[in-house]
Symmetry: C2
Subunit: 389 residues, 2 copies
């Protein structure tokens, strides 16, 4: 049982939109196919990994550091104790050989792509959906048969007025979503308030609307924004300031009584722990959004999960960023709070299975082996070509 | 006045050695040459940047993201207000366009290489050594005409016994160094204590010896190690635990009364602030070692410096990691505590000018324009070839 080859390439992930920090017109991501010599259903098991959005493709780090180390490892050293399946933690150990501690950024993004493919393989070897493997291994067999999903949307588009924004939100509602999210902080406060009011006309209630400042606000701006929107009782107010400014986050909890959410730009369990310990986040109210596909994959997320439990947090307050099938499998199998998704943007990479049915904001997990990439036809087509060289 | 071209390549930085975390047999770094249309002394001004050690070359990020953004910028947008010189902060702004906040890792390493070359250019345009430019702009004209330098050494080499370790240390002494540093944490405590005792025989006094655990220890191991070495009254005990584990660092200050040093694996001013605010570091005793050549360059270091001052720290307790000429120029021009250097390892990239004279552990700054790369003949030869294509 061994890895035969690892193939990666960069794909465009661009969209004509921006949030408060960046525009996405040149966004890219890395994707990979890991080919094994294990045969299931008459064919070699192949795992697929697709990078999350916002942090670009990582071909250099993959080709120069991570992939060669995995391919140089002794095959048996990458298997579980019984030799019956691959052990993604051992693959991570091989990838991270001779990497210094700290500095969790692009390297974490690169490693996550490989790790996603390894978990896809693990589930395919077991001939189970990944969420089922996760439930069996890490949740005593329990799982959710429907997962809260919310679309990351409401970006700033060039020339976009209020009516197109409302139309975008209505599209999500027509697709079955209930909780919607929009970007804020990329315009002055008055403009953002008009945008929020316009979307509230569509969603009806603040409990159906989250807002995301993408780390754009200073403390004073975050307090002012919080005071201006507090009465809407929004689903959450996301990433108000610099993601590493724990003191800002802690101070803001003294000024804003509603739910807050952050963590998508923290790329390790230690960074996540610092947020939980120093950021004043409230376990009964707030949400932690570590994105496994940016942060060393599900393998590292298991450390995040253990840390969160130790710090007294419920899994229901964890809701992974990124809108990928890994987050969805984790949410179902670990009974997290839910998962983001991107049904309209980052196409064809965003969103879940082609035939996924969203009912009142919830989606049902798939029943095919692995993470479910094969159920997204346009994505699968490209990855299959990559695997077949 | 504009940038004409930016050329980069990866160079091997390998050495047959290891610290407690990694071995350096496959280490690489990025170097760059930035060619301008400014003429001084009859030739175009060219700036050189050399990556620091420990974090690998970053060709992918440089070629795919950072360099194209600088070359796409409107040239005048990269100049200072008077249009008389380049403004490295504006170049950094161009490089970081459409980059999300947080996740400071490989990107910070890549950006630092470009930033180093930009400061080399700035000083060459002014026809002054970089330390003089730094002194004039950021230190009221004051500078140090000798800088404390200490060699990063005492690694674990394959099969290395105590006598070769002592011989390595004597070589540093013969070169004029007084404060020496050795690696710990890569062997059991008894072995490390024997290594330390052996080096103390050479250096005579604990005040001449720093030890560096490279983030390897758990809290319990760090406490045990600290108790075992406390009576030696060492120069410092460096990077005991995970660089992001501020709680470990803070707890350790309750158990170890000697000086500690850390920060080389924190890659932004915000990360550095978190260390200072949460890590329990003592301004009268401890040292902060942010490496500008790993952390967005001198441009970001100015933010580190402002933060440190605001937090009540003297510049004398800042001593940059990395052993490069940028750290040396900063130490002289800002009157920092000193600078690391690598006279024996990472050759030819480690160490300062070929003719640098070390006297009782201090080195004098150079008097040629720029950062001084031209004074390291083997390095300059390679960079000149890169610039000339």
């Amino acid at each position: 049982m061994k890895i035969v080859d690892i193939r990666e390439r960069s794909v465009p992930l661009h969209s004509a939109m921006r949030n408060a920090s960046i525009d996405f017109s040149k966004m890219t991501a890395s994707v990979c196919a890991i080919i094994t010599d294990v045969v299931r259903d008459g064919k070699p098991v192949i795992g697929y990994g697709v990078g999350s959005n916002g942090r670009y493709a990582q071909g250099g780090i993959l080709r120069e550091r991570l992939i060669p180390r995995v391919l140089e490892a002794v095959p048996v050293d990458l298997l579980d104790g019984a030799g019956a399946n691959f052990d993604p933690a051992k693959v991570m150990g091989a990838m991270m050989r001779n990497e210094k501690p700290g500095g969790h950024g692009d390297r974490a993004v690169a490693a996550a792509v490989i790790d996603m493919a390894m978990w896809d393989i693990v589930a395919k070897v077991e001939e189970k959906p990944l969420w089922q493997v996760i439930a069996n291994r890490f949740n005593g067999g329990a799982y959710d048969d429907r997962v809260l999903v919310y679309p990351g949307g409401g970006y700033y588009y060039p020339g976009k007025g209020l009516e197109p924004l409302q139309a975008e939100m209505r599209t999500y509602q027509e697709q079955g979503y209930r909780v919607l999210k929009m970007k804020v902080g990329g315009a002055d406060l008055d403009t953002d308030l008009r945008r929020i009011e316009a979307v509230l006309e569509v969603v009806g209630d603040g409990a159906n609307l989250a807002v995301d400042a993408n780390g754009r606000f200073s403390l004073d701006e975050a307090i002012a924004f919080g005071k201006a929107v507090e009465s809407y009782k929004l689903f959450w107010f996301e990433e108000p300031g610099d993601p590493l400014d724990y003191a800002l986050q802690a101070e803001l909890t003294q000024h804003y009584s509603g739910s807050m959410a952050t963590g998508e730009n923290l790329f390790s369990a230690q960074d996540a722990k610092n947020l939980v310990v120093y950021g004043g986040m409230r376990p009964e109210l707030d949400w932690i959004q570590i994105d496994p596909a940016l942060a060393y994959g599900f393998t590292e997320y298991l450390k995040v999960d253990a840390m969160m439990t130790e710090q007294g947090w419920s899994r229901r307050q964890q809701i992974p960023h990124g809108g990928h099938q890994l987050g969805f499998n984790m949410a179902a199998g670990m009974q997290l709070g839910g998962s983001e998704t991107y049904p309209l943007v980052f196409q064809p990479w965003g969103g879940f299975a082609d035939d996924v049915d969203i009912v009142d904001g919830y989606a049902r997990p798939h029943d095919t082996p692995g993470i479910g990439i094969e159920l997204k036809s346009k994505v699968y087509q490209q990855l299959k070509e990559l695997a077949e060289g």
